[in-house]
């Protein structure tokens, strides 16, 4: 994907998340993109590491920064004390029209992520995304819930077990979607 194709996908994801009631702060976008890329195989090619609230991509942060600079996304301040939301701009529509073919290809994956993660809070996204990170980055020998608790000590083992269970359901549904659209 070219840079602007990726930006078009990001803007569509932001809009879909907001339609589902997401706060759509940077953390929400980071985790939603992680699921879009790793679980649903949308080739965004961001490099994710374990950092703030779980999987985090500095490449994605740069891409969001470039989108702000180009006027394709912007921050919307929220009442004290909450953090800002990321929202689309009047220019977003032109970009999406230009890359409508790309957006059609990945529409169902974007909707899947927005439907499942749009209502989640940061703490829930952190737990689920970190569980996915553990699933896809080794640690198969150990208990994933214990590993999640080890990596993020503020998440209790009980909460971690719940995240691991919820992730399994998401994985099953995600694989099902990929089968339907012929991506696996």
């Amino acid at each position: 994907m070219t840079r602007l194709q990726k930006t078009a996908v990001l803007t569509k994801l932001v809009e879909r998340l907001r339609e589902r009631g997401s706060w759509s702060g940077e953390t929400h976008i980071q985790k939603a993109v992680y699921f879009l890329q790793e679980l649903l195989k949308v080739p965004l090619e961001f490099n994710f590491i374990l950092y703030k609230h779980g999987p985090f991509s500095f490449d994605l942060r740069e891409e969001l920064g470039a989108a702000y600079a180009d006027g394709l996304l912007k921050l919307k301040a929220q009442p004290l004390p909450y953090g800002p939301s990321i929202v689309s701009t009047p220019e977003t529509g032109d970009l999406q029209s230009r890359f409508s073919k790309t957006l059609r290809i990945y529409e169902r994956q974007i909707d899947f992520v927005a439907d499942r993660l749009g209502v989640k809070k940061v703490s829930e996204l952190e737990g689920l995304a970190t569980a996915l990170y553990i699933k896809f980055n080794g640690a198969e020998a150990g208990d994933p819930a214990q590993e999640l608790h080890r990596l993020k000590p503020h998440i209790t083992v009980k909460q971690a077990e719940s995240f691991v269970d919820e992730l399994e359901l998401l994985l099953e549904e995600g694989i099902g979607l990929l089968s339907e659209i012929g991506s696996v």
Partner: protein, 286 residues
């Protein structure tokens, strides 16, 4: 202290992406390398400001350091939200933090991304690629440390005086002020038409005038928006963006420059004047 610890703290999770960071290691590293309050940034802004003779880079780093705190990342009142800690400030340090981030923006705009400084960087890179063995600095530690500014400055001067030497052309541009001149720079009007206007003009200029006569330089939004927790006087935690209009509206630095050989500048300007609209017109995806 182990080498791995030093690497982690000095590079941070962004650059040492193959290493796992605990929450506390990430925090310690942020104190050194962080976008918002990293001491590396504090140091180079103040130092560069002093040595380049501009005042943009100054801010009250004593006040800022005194008010830095490890705080919950999430604002108060976010039910069931994450308790992960992050580096932030007490409300009394917010203006110092604003001053630091404004200093960063102005230093980027006026110093680090000044067009003449950028083209001299490009000519210096052109010289080094030709002059250094295999076009790169040695990765042998002793050899690397032996190569100082003095060796390179001497080599540039010698190469500029000898047309047969490696890197002569770039050396002359550096020493005789024959640097490439600005043909085009990013502007909001063209970005609104096409965010890739600059790269399209660069590609067209290369085709028209030859790659050797055109240079392109770009920087956009590397650090994104800087957000951090602020502890208010009543103990609540707030996002910096929700308590600071300065930070909310701080522009993201973005620059695109296209430079050409001064010999063809007039011709190139005339060419661009006639073709810009056509070149930057956005193409529909096929």
């Amino acid at each position: 202290m182990r080498i791995e610890d030093i690497i982690k703290l000095a590079l941070g999770p962004g650059k040492a992406s193959d290493l796992d960071f605990t929450t506390w290691e990430a925090l310690l590293s942020e104190i050194i390398t962080g976008d918002a309050f990293g001491v590396d940034r504090m140091d180079y802004l103040l130092r560069d400001s002093y040595h380049s003779g501009v005042v943009y880079g100054k801010f009250d780093h004593f006040r800022l350091i005194d008010t830095m705190r490890i705080l919950p990342q999430s604002p108060s009142g976010c039910e069931n939200d994450s308790d992960e800690p992050a580096l932030g400030v007490d409300t009394g340090g917010l203006q110092s933090a604003e001053a630091l981030l404004l200093a960063r923006y102005f230093m980027y705009s006026q110093v680090y991304f000044h067009r003449v400084r950028r083209i001299y960087d490009i000519h210096l890179k052109d010289f080094l690629k030709t002059w250094l063995e295999n076009g790169a600095f040695s990765i042998n530690a002793d050899e690397h440390l032996r190569m100082t500014d003095n060796e390179i400055t001497k080599a540039i001067l010698e190469a500029s005086r000898d047309p047969a030497s490696r890197g002569h052309d770039a050396a002359v541009r550096l020493t005789a002020h024959q640097h490439f001149r600005l043909l085009y720079q990013r502007n909001p009007y063209d970005v609104k038409i096409n965010p890739e206007a600059a790269i399209l003009i660069y590609e067209a200029a290369k085709d028209q005038f030859g790659e050797e006569n055109v240079r392109y330089d770009s920087y956009s939004g590397k650090s994104g928006i800087t957000e951090f927790p602020v502890r208010l006087d009543d103990g609540r935690i707030a996002s910096s963006i929700s308590v600071s209009n300065v930070l909310k509206d701080l522009p993201v630095p973005a620059f695109d420059y296209i430079f050409v050989d001064p010999v063809i500048l007039s011709e190139a300007q005339e060419w661009l004047e006639k073709r810009r609209e056509n070149i930057i017109s956005p193409a529909q995806e096929e």
